[in-house]
Every structure is written in structure tokens, then in C-alpha cells.
């Protein structure tokens, strides 16, 4: 650039070069040499850097070397839930299974929670609580395929009274998430009660490790709401299920998984037992205000639903589910679905609810 300008200043001289011209020429040669050296250093440096990056052994700083192709593969970090789950300590003096009948949902929930030791036993001031309703389908709540929003509201209020600092509501529905939350009334319930709703957006999922699980030892998990959470409550409707026969509080954790869930049906009982292992909740609420007694788990007709007027609260989701199976789905004579036995074999709960301490109350 600058050379051009200098060259253009004078017209080329005619005849032999003057000393001034020779001086000009010498200076130009100097400049050329300098430029050559600069460029040589630059090119050499670039080559050396490229060589370092590509040839330096893998452990060395800035090395990009990947001799066998293994280093380049994506590696996911595997998250872990707390080793003991979100369980609160035993309290021998209170019941294990709290059952409340009636029609005032808020009072029923309080009575059922009181029966198992009161909300103070489970939630302390400052807790970050995840509540997992079942919002699998885009149905009005009256069709019984999803958690009753009134139960969710009562639960959020109860948890807030106990001093929880943050309450999160999360589920990964089968149908379009926004529609499911809106149409089931869960969104309005969460918003009106001041809980934070988590939608299952792709960035919310992380790989979760569940040591000892048969199938889901590593599986994409709805991690977002669990970041920093220390209490987990499941609140699930009671539903007939075409394959595993009944979908209640244990099967409810299905909605925390992502990935290829449709493979689960190849061993649904093993999966539900894995779910019980994966998530040890603070407590679960079996919402039997409505009972979807047939055509489950989707339902779709009011004639598939009957009122149950019951809420069951327990730390032990198997006992709560077994109670629901016998007393609310009214399948007393039938053998329990196999997942109860599989989960019980891993000591994840008591599938014979008659063996646990039960406290039953009727609320107006």
C-alpha cells in the first residue's frame, strides 16, 4: 500500500540511475528482506502451532490429537439423584398410609398428610420441592386421565405453609406438553398457587444414572426441575392401564424420563420397578378423587370415570398403590401387577397394604 503511494509520487527517471535512485533501491531491498523475514516467522509459527495441536500427545495442553477416534466422541455427564433418594427419616409413632375420604379436597389432603405425621415431618423451611403430577394426556381433568388440579393446588398450598422456598411442578407428557398442561388445568393450578411450571424442553434433560436398575441404568431424565431440589412429591391419579394394568404413584415417575420411552413396554413391570428404584420420593399422593376404571391410561369418556372421594398419602408408593388397587380400582380379588413383586423384591416398599399401619379418616 505504502509502496504504491511512494512509487507514484515521481515519474520514472530517464537515463542512468542517480545516487538518489540507488538509495531508493537499497531501501526497497531492505523492506523486502524485512517483509520476507516477518512472513517466514509467521508461516513457521503457524506450522508449528498446527503441528502441536495435531501431533502433541492427548494429555498435553492444547492438544487436539485423537489417534483412534475415541476422543472425538461426545461424552455425556451422568447425573445422580441423592443416594438415599428424597426420603425423610422414619417416624415409628405415626401411620405409614394415610387415607382420607370425603369431598373437601383441601381438608382431605391435610387429614391424610396429618395421618402420616403432618406436613412438618416432610417439608422444612427453605426446601426446594419438586411436585410431579401426571399430565400425560391432553384431557380435561374430569376425564380422570390426569391429576386433579384441585389436589395439586391443595398440595402446593400445604407445602408452602410448611415453608418451602420454591415449589416446582414438572412432567413430560406423551402429547404436546403445552396443550397437556393447559387443557388438564394443571398449568392454571400451578400458576394460581404460585408454583413454577417446568416444560420438558430439550435443554432440561440430562443423562441420569440409577445404579442397580435393570433397564434405565443410564437414561435421559427431566433434570431441570431437580437442579438444587431436595424434596420430591408425586401426585398421581389412579388409572386403569392397558399393559401394566394400573397406573398409580409408582408408574407416575415414567413422566420424568425422556428418550425412547416407547421401548419401556417391552418389560413394563421391570421398568416400573426400576422407576421405584430411581426415585425414592419424600411422599406420594394417590389422587383418587376420580377413578379411571377402564379404557386407561387415556380414558376419553366420562363413563370411564367414577368418583373415588379418596386421597391416599404415603412414603411408600407401593403400599399406596396396593391400597388403590384393592380399594379404589376395586380389583381386590385379582393378583397385583407384577411390578409390585419386582419392586418389593428390591425392598422398595410393602405391596401388602394390610401389613402397614393405616390411618383412615372421613372428612365431611
Amino acid at each position: 500500500m505504502s509502496t504504491e503511494r511512494r512509487g507514484s509520487r515521481h515519474a520514472p527517471p530517464v537515463g542512468a540511475p542517480s545516487p538518489e535512485d540507488l538509495e531508493q533501491q537499497r531501501q526497497h531491498q531492505l523492506l523486502e528482506r524485512r517483509t520476507l523475514l516477518k512472513q517466514a516467522v509467521g508461516v513457521g509459527g503457524a506450522c508449528a502451532a498446527a503441528g502441536w495441536l495435531s501431533l502433541a500427545p492427548a494429555g498435553w495442553p492444547l492438544s487436539l490429537r485423537d489417534a483412534d477416534g475415541e476422543r472425538g466422541k461426545p461424552r455425556a455427564t451422568v447425573r445422580q439423584l441423592p443416594p438415599g433418594g428424597f426420603v425423610v427419616p422414619d417416624a415409628p409413632s405415626v401411620a405409614d398410609l394415610g387415607v382420607a375420604h370425603g369431598s373437601n379436597i383441601s381438608a382431605m389432603l391435610r387429614a391424610a398428610v396429618d395421618a402420616v405425621g403432618g406436613i412438618g415431618r416432610f417439608i422444612q423451611r427453605g426446601d426446594v420441592v419438586v411436585i410431579k403430577p401426571n399430565v400425560a394426556f391432553e384431557r380435561p381433568a374430569a376425564l380422570g386421565a390426569t391429576t386433579n388440579p384441585d389436589v395439586l393446588v391443595a398440595l402446593v398450598e400445604l407445602v408452602r405453609e410448611a415453608g418451602a422456598s420454591e415449589i416446582r411442578v414438572a412432567d413430560n407428557p406423551i402429547e404436546s406438553p403445552e396443550s397437556c398442561f393447559a387443557r388438564s388445568g394443571i398449568q392454571a393450578a400451578a400458576e394460581s398457587s404460585g408454583a413454577r411450571l417446568y416444560l420438558p424442553e430439550p435443554h432440561q434433560f440430562e443423562l441420569l444414572g440409577t445404579p442397580g436398575a435393570t433397564w434405565i441404568e443410564r437414561w435421559p431424565f427431566f433434570w431441570g426441575p431437580f437442579e438444587g431440589a431436595n424434596k420430591v412429591i408425586g401426585v398421581s391419579p389412579i388409572k386403569d392401564h392397558n399393559l401394566c394394568r394400573a397406573s398409580m404413584t409408582t408408574k407416575n415417575w415414567y413422566g420424568l424420563l425422556g428418550g425412547r420411552r416407547n421401548q419401556f413396554h417391552q418389560d413394563i413391570h421391570g421398568i416400573v420397578a426400576d422407576l421405584a428404584l430411581m426415585l425414592r420420593p419424600t411422599f406420594v399422593v394417590l389422587d383418587a378423587t376420580r377413578v379411571l376404571f377402564r379404557s386407561g391410561p387415556t380414558g376419553g369418556s366420562l363413563s370411564d370415570v367414577r368418583p373415588g372421594h379418596t386421597l391416599v398419602v404415603s412414603r411408600d408408593s407401593l403400599a399406596a398403590d396396593a391400597y388403590g388397587w384393592d380399594q379404589l380400582l376395586e380389583r381386590k380379588g385379582e393378583a397385583l401387577p407384577d411390578y409390585f413383586n419386582q419392586a418389593a423384591a428390591r425392598k422398595l416398599g410393602q405391596p401388602d397394604w394390610r401389613k402397614v399401619v393405616l390411618s383412615e379418616v372421613n372428612v365431611g
Binding site: 406423551i174 406438553p177 396443550s179 424442553e201 430439550p202 392397558n242 399393559l243 413396554h265 387415556t298
Partner: protein, 578 residues
């Protein structure tokens, strides 16, 4: 390094802006001159257009007129009126564009059209030409006639019931491009912390669209052509522009050149958007009414005024000899003619275009994909769609239904499903989504009634539509050779679980099978009750044999046309009691 001039100090800029003009008018007469208002208008309409596409989503739609721009589009209204002999729902809104066009010319192109705004903005931003070249590229070219041929072919096709305006109508084209190409890219670029602003918030997976690459590249290509010829699309291809151009010959108000002031300097061509020759005889059919020529005229010779009658016959004397005068003032310009009303298309070429349209119809219609004889099994239309021939009369390929669909099941048809005639019309792909039972959003946003406005009771076949029964999109079939319980003695029946009808259309036989290793296993093997199946496709979507599902829906049995019914008794077969 040169300082970037935009980084001037604010007080300096304010002082420069508020200087009194050389002609003594106050500063705001310059800052708020008409071209500034045009830019405001373009920005507002472009923003409104994008906003309406952004709210076309389950949780945002509320009462927004999501397809407003498509309804305002006079070409959509006119062409569907030609093909259906009716004006659907909100399409009368096109009058709001039609009336100003008849009075003022193509104001839509210069002031409102979001696609035009995009082209103008990109052309401005990436314009590196010198003024001499600017004047050159803004000269009128005969290739600009092409849009009138395109319009003619499309209108002739419309009259036969093959509505193809959507291929190139700018509103349809931009809507489609935004929906299938821009929105997914926008969502991919959006950081997780701003997920609430995503175009498809709450979607569990990124949305994918068939042939999005082609629609996207087409957008880049058409916008890129601005670098070759400014507003290439608007000047050369746009059928809506052509339609408005034909109408604008009746405009009473236009850019008028004062022959007694014009020095024939041609500076008015420098930013002329429409290449409408304001320096000579204004081509009314090409003028976008952008007013840039007024800004660029150093002689104040141009004005936008009521000028229904040309003045050249009033010129006295000879221009050649320099003795011409007009109303007593000396004529300076050497070019006496000031206006050309009609598009520059010779009559024989109109006829040629018409003939081309006449021939194009059989070429399109007697291709296999859209013909009733051999329609594609995968051309599954959204719920509420009218029967296929009427559908093709109405669908403008705007893809608003695809935009609003919460599950991503709606896809722009490729040549495989719809042929060229059905290209980019909505079809359902149950591998990308499924038709959600209680959702009727696509029928709400469809501007032309290809998907008729239905309520939920109609879709589900509840009172008062119980007689007719639910809308069926097709029928699901089992491929027992791929179905896990049937072919591989592996438990599954996800399909039964998710089947949304009550009672379920998918049931299962409980059978005890002896496996290859001699062990006995109790299995549930699914079966289909076609009289209950509504073709929603959630079974296909959830089937774990994901790449080629073992249960799949095809169009047969769809309730929108008797010709395509499957079971004896037509689409309204008696519902069985559960």
C-alpha cells in the same frame, strides 16, 4: 482505521438533525418527510407480520388474527374466488388493500408488503454500487413482464380449480419460509435462558419440516438476487405485484413529473424501488409509491399528486427546438410523456400466457399424485379439510396450519405426496407428530377454508354432530411382520396405550405363545377396530419400530370424501358401542 461514522456523538447527531433546511422549512419537515413515514410503515407491517406468525402457537394464539396478512392479500381472495366461486370467512379483508390500490397504486408493495420490505432492506444493506450503477440497475427491463405471465398462468389454473398462486405469492411464500425454515433456525439459535421467546415454546424436540432446506435456500436465493437486480422478486416474479400492477392503472394519484422543472438528470432512478421510470413516462403498473424519487430530485420536479390525465398534449411549441411551453412556462425536459398506465405486455403475449395456463392445468391434474385414481397413501390431510379436489381449489400453501400445529405432524408436502400441484400443501407425517385429539387449531388459522373452521364437537363427532361421527383422517394398519408382539414375541402394545378413542380402536388378543426356545409366554398382540379408528396416528408416532412403524396410518377411510371410505357404509359408519 477510519472511524465508523455511525458512532458519532449523540449531541452532534441531534444538532445535525435539527438544523433548519436550506429552503427555510423547519427541521422536522425533513426528518419526518414522507419517505421516513414509509419506513415507519414498512417496519410496523413487517413487525406485525412477524409477530402474527410468532403468536400462531397454542399458548399465544388467543384471539389474534394470525393469518391477517394472508386474508389481506387481494390475490388470495381473487384467485380463491375464481376457483371456488366463494369468498371464505375473512378473505373480504382484501378490500382493505384493493381500495387503496385503485386510488393510489401499488402502495401495498412499497408500504406494507413484508416480503417487499425484506427485499428492500436487504438490497439497501448490501448495496455496494456507486450511484452511476444504482441508476443503471433501476432502469426498467423487459424481463419485468415475466410476473404478468406468471399471474396469467396462475389465474387460468385457478379458474380450473388448481390453485397455484401460493407458489409465488409473496405473503404465502414468506409465511412458508418463516414457518419451515426461519422459525426452526431461530429456535436452534435461541439460548436456553430465553426459551420462553422461542417460536415453538415447550416443544419437546426441535421441529423438523420436509424440504425445509429447499424452502430455505429459495428464500436465500430470492433475497440474494437483490444484489443482482434490486427487488428482483418484486419486479420480476411477484404475481401479487402483477395483480396490483394491473389494478393500479386505474389509480388517480401518481408520481407526476413537472416538465417545466425536470432537467432529465435521471437522479430519480437512483433509489427507485419499482424501476418504474419516473425520469420519463412513469410506469404506473411498476411504481411501488416508495417516494424515493421525490427525495432524490434536485429540481423538485416530482410530486405525488392527483393526475388522472397526461399533460403532453397541452405542450405548445417544439421540444426539439427548445420552444416548448406548458401552461405558459418553459418546458425544460426533453421527454414530454409523463405516464404509461397499463403493464408493458403486448396483447399477443397475454394470449400466450393464457394458453400456457390452459395447458398447464391438464399437465398438473393428470399427474398421478393428486389424481383421484392414484392418490398418495401418505397425503393425509389435517382435520376439517375439505375433499381433495376442493382442497386443491383452496390451499394456498401458506403453511399457517403447519405453523400452529403443536405436535409437528403437519408437514409441507413434497413432490412424493402431493405432486407438483400439491407441493407444500399440508400433509400429516406421523413419524414427526400425531394429530392431537382435542386440537382444532389448524382449522382456525386456515385463511381459505381448505381446512374448514371446525369446533371440537365436530372433530370428535359429539352433539350436534353425533350423527356424522368423528372426523377420520385415515385408517391405521398393523404390519405384523414388524410388530414386536406379532413378529418377535416381545411385549409392547404402546399403540393400545396411547389410542385416544373411548373405547379404544386398538385392542389386544391375549395369547400364549411358544417361543423359539420352547418357553411359553403370555403376550398381548394388538388388533385394529377400523370402525373406531380416527386416523390420528399417535399409534404410528409412538410405535417403537420407529423408522418404519409397525402400525401406520394411510389416507384410506378418511371421512372427508366418500370416494376414499374404507368400510361399507361410508365415512359415517355407525359407531359401535363399547
Amino acid at each position: 482505521m477510519k472511524r465508523l461514522p455511525v458512532i458519532q456523538s449523540v449531541p452532534l447527531a441531534i444538532r445535525a438533525a435539527t438544523q433548519t433546511n436550506r429552503d427555510g422549512t423547519p427541521w422536522f419537515a425533513r426528518v419526518f418527510r414522507i419517505t421516513s413515514w414509509r419506513i415507519v410503515s414498512q417496519a410496523v407491517f413487517f413487525g406485525l407480520f412477524m409477530f402474527l406468525l410468532w403468536v400462531t402457537w397454542f399458548s399465544r394464539l388467543e384471539g389474534y388474527p394470525a393469518s391477517l396478512f394472508l386474508e389481506l392479500d387481494p390475490l388470495v381472495t381473487f384467485a380463491t374466488a375464481l376457483s371456488t366461486h366463494t369468498v371464505y370467512r375473512w378473505l373480504w379483508r382484501a378490500l382493505w388493500i384493493l381500495i387503496p390500490t385503485l386510488l393510489l397504486g401499488r402502495v401495498f408493495c412499497g408500504w406494507m408488503c413484508p416480503y417487499g420490505t425484506l427485499h428492500q432492506f436487504m438490497g439497501w444493506l448490501f448495496n455496494v454500487r456507486r450511484n452511476k450503477d444504482n441508476i443503471g440497475v433501476n432502469a426498467y427491463r423487459p424481463i419485468f413482464q415475466l410476473k404478468y405471465y406468471i399471474l396469467t398462468v396462475m389465474l387460468v389454473l385457478s379458474a380450473f380449480g388448481a390453485l397455484q398462486i401460493g407458489l409465488l405469492d409473496p405473503i404465502c411464500l414468506l409465511t412458508r419460509s418463516v414457518v419451515t425454515a426461519i422459525k426452526p433456525a431461530f429456535d436452534a439459535a435461541l439460548p436456553a435462558s430465553l426459551a420462553g421467546f422461542a417460536a415453538s415454546p415447550g416443544a419437546p424436540e426441535p421441529r423438523v419440516f420436509a424440504g425445509a432446506w429447499f424452502i430455505g435456500f429459495l428464500l436465500i436465493g430470492l433475497v440474494g438476487l437483490n444484489l443482482v437486480i434490486p427487488r428482483f422478486f418484486c419486479r420480476v416474479l411477484c404475481p401479487l405485484g402483477a395483480f396490483l400492477g394491473v389494478l393500479s392503472r386505474f389509480a388517480l394519484v401518481r408520481i407526476d413529473r413537472d416538465l417545466t422543472r425536470c432537467t432529465d438528470c435521471n437522479l430519480c432512478m437512483r433509489h427507485c424501488e419499482g424501476a418504474s421510470d419516473p425520469q420519463e413516462a412513469l410506469r404506473k403498473s411498476e411504481c411501488f409509491v416508495c417516494f424515493n424519487c421525490i427525495d432524490d430530485c434536485p429540481e423538485d420536479a416530482l410530486a405525488f399528486r392527483l393526475a388522472p390525465v397526461p399533460v403532453h398534449e397541452r405542450i405548445l411549441g417544439s421540444i426539439k427546438e427548445g420552444t416548448a411551453s406548458l401552461f405558459g412556462r418553459r418546458v425544460i425536459s426533453k421527454l414530454p410523456s409523463t405516464v404509461i398506465g397499463a403493464p408493458d405486455v403486448p396483447r399477443r403475449r397475454w394470449v400466450f400466457a393464457g394458453l400456457a395456463g390452459l395447458l398447464a392445468y391438464p399437465f398438473l391434474r393428470f399427474s398421478k399424485a393428486v389424481n383421484a385414481k392414484a392418490y398418495s397413501a401418505k397425503a393425509i390431510r389435517p382435520p376439517g379439510s375439505v375433499a381433495e379436489p376442493e382442497f386443491l381449489e383452496r390451499c394456498i400453501k401458506c403453511d399457517q396450519c403447519i405453523n400452529v400445529c403443536p405436535t409437528n405432524v403437519l408437514q409441507p408436502s413434497t413432490l412424493a405426496e402431493g405432486g407438483l400441484e400439491g407441493l407444500w400443501t399440508p400433509v400429516m407425517d406421523f413419524r414427526t407428530g400425531f394429530c392431537q385429539l382435542n386440537c382444532t387449531l389448524c382449522s382456525e388459522v386456515c385463511p381459505t377454508g381448505a381446512i374448514q373452521k371446525i369446533d371440537l364437537a365436530r372433530k370428535l363427532g359429539k352433539e350436534p354432530h353425533a350423527e356424522v361421527g368423528p372426523i377420520r383422517l385415515g385408517t391405521a394398519f398393523f404390519d405384523r411382520g414388524r410388530c414386536l408382539p406379532w413378529a418377535m414375541e416381545t411385549p409392547c402394545v404402546v399403540c393400545e396405550e396411547v389410542c385416544p378413542t373411548s373405547p379404544k380402536a386398538i385392542g389386544a388378543y391375549e395369547v400364549e405363545v411358544t417361543r423359539w426356545d420352547g418357553k411359553k409366554a403370555l403376550l398381548k398382540q394388538p388388533y385394529m377396530r377400523p370402525e373406531l379408528c380416527i386416523g390420528c396416528g399417535i399409534c404410528e408416532h409412538e410405535c417403537p419400530v420407529a423408522d418404519q412403524p409397525a402400525v401406520y396410518v394411510t389416507a384410506i377411510g378418511e371421512s372427508r370424501s366418500k370416494d376414499r371410505s374404507l368400510l361399507l357404509g361410508g365415512p359415517d359408519v355407525q359407531k359401535v358401542k363399547g
